[in-house]
Symmetry: C2
Subunit: 219 residues, 2 copies
C-alpha cells in the first residue's frame, strides 16, 4: 500500500526537520550556559527570543508526519517511525523551553558575579549536549545501543547534579546571604538534568521504534 | 474513508485507556505523598512495584492507536485525536516515573522523622492531582479553557515550590546537619513541580488537537 519512494522521501524530510530541531536545541543549550558563564545578557536574550523556532519546527513535524500518515498509510515500523518522530519533537520542544529557562536565569542575575566557579554546570551541559546529538543519531540509525548508552550518561548528569547540590548546601552555611543566587544556580542544574531526562526519553522511544516495545530506562 | 462507528468505538477504547492511566497516575502520586507523610515504607514499595502498570498502559495505547490509524485511516482532527493520545500517554508515563521517585524518597528516609512539618508538599501534590484529572478531562471534552486553567495552576505549583525552597534554605542555616534530608525533601518538591509541568504539556496538546496549532503555555 505504501509507495516506497514517496514514503521514503517524506520520511527523509521528517528526519531533516528533527536534525534541524536537535541542532537548534543543542545550540540553545550551549548558548544559554555560555551566557551564564560570561554574564552575557545579549546572548541570553537571543536564546529567549529564538525559542519560538523550536515550536515552529515541532508544528512542521506534526504537519508533515500527519500528511505522511494520511497519504502513505504506513504500517508497523514505518508508522512507528512517524509516531516516534512526533514524540521526539515533543521532547525537543520541552528541552528548548528548559534552555530558555537557563537563559532567563542569566537575565535575572543581571551581571552579578557568581559565588562559586561555574564548573559543574558546564560539565553537566556538555554531557547533556552530547546526549542531544546521540538521541537524534539513535533515531536516524535506529540504534538501540546508543539509547542504552544515554541512560548511563543520564545517571552521570544526575550524579553531577547531586554533588553540585551538596556543594551549594555547604557554601550556603558559610554565606547565607548568597542563598537567592544559589537557588538560581541550583535551578540551572535542575534544568540541565531535565534536559538529560528528555534525551533518555528519546532513547526509550527509539527502542520502541525498533522493537515495538516501550522500555523504562529512567528507573 | 473513515467508518465512523468503528473509528468512534476505537477512539472510545483509547479514551478509556487514557482515563485508566490518568486515574492510576493520580493514585500513585497520592499514595507516594501519603507514604512520605506517614513514613509508610510498605505503601512506598507498593507505588514502586506498580509503576510498570503505566508502562503497559502506554504500550496498549500505542498499539490501539496504531491499529486505528492503519485500519481507519483517520485525517485532520480524527488523526490529531490519536496523535495527542500518544503524546498524553508519554506524559502520563513520565509522571508515573516521578511518583515512583517520590516513593523512593520515602524508602531512603527509612522511617526517619522529617525536620519540618510536611505542609507544602501535600499542598503542591493536591494541586498537581487536580491538574491530572483536568488534563484528562480537557482531552475528553476537547476543552481548551481547561488547558489554559492548568497553565495557571502550574504557576501556583511553581510558586509553592519556590517558597518551600526558601523555607528549606532558611532551616538549613539553623540545622546544617539536616542538609541530606532537606535535599531529599527539595527533590520531592521538584518531582511534583515536574508532574505539574507534564500536565500543562497535556493541556498544550489538547489545544493542538482542537486548533491544529501548538501553543507554548510553559513560558
Amino acid at each position: 500500500m505504501v509507495r516506497r519512494t514517496d514514503f521514503d522521501s517524506g520520511l527523509n524530510q521528517l528526519r531533516e526537520l528533527l536534525i534541524k530541531m536537535g541542532t537548534r536545541m543543542d545550540e540553545a543549550l550551549q548558548e544559554a550556559v555560555e551566557s551564564l558563564k560570561t554574564a552575557d545578557l545579549a546572548k541570553a536574550e537571543e536564546v529567549i527570543r529564538r525559542d519560538g523556532e523550536l515550536n515552529v519546527l515541532e508544528e512542521e513535524i506534526l504537519e508533515l508526519g500527519s500528511q505522511l500518515i494520511i497519504t502513505q498509510q504506513p504500517v508497523a515500523k514505518d508508522l512507528r517511525r512517524i509516531i516516534v518522530a512526533f514524540k521526539i519533537s515533543s521532547d525537543l520542544e520541552r528541552m528548548g523551553d528548559l534552555a530558555r529557562d537557563i537563559a532567563k536565569v542569566t537575565v535575572r542575575l543581571d551581571g552579578e558575579a557568581v559565588v562559586k566557579p561555574l564548573v559543574d554546570i558546564p560539565q553537566m551541559a556538555s554531557i547533556a549536549s552530547s546526549m542531544i546529538s546521540e538521541s537524534i543519531r539513535s533515531y536516524m540509525d535506529e540504534n538501540t545501543d546508543l539509547a542504552y548508552k544515554m541512560a548511563k550518561d543520564d545517571d552521570e548528569v544526575d550524579e553531577l547534579y547531586g554533588s553540585m547540590l551538596r556543594e551549594l548546601y555547604a557554601l550556603l552555611i558559610d554565606q547565607p546571604e548568597a542563598a537567592p543566587q544559589m537557588m538560581l544556580l541550583q535551578m540551572v542544574g535542575r534544568y540541565i538534568e531535565r534536559i538529560a531526562d528528555h534525551a533518555t526519553n528519546i532513547g526509550e522511544n527509539v527502542v520502541f521504534l525498533v522493537t515495538g516495545r516501550r522500555p523504562d530506562l529512567n528507573s
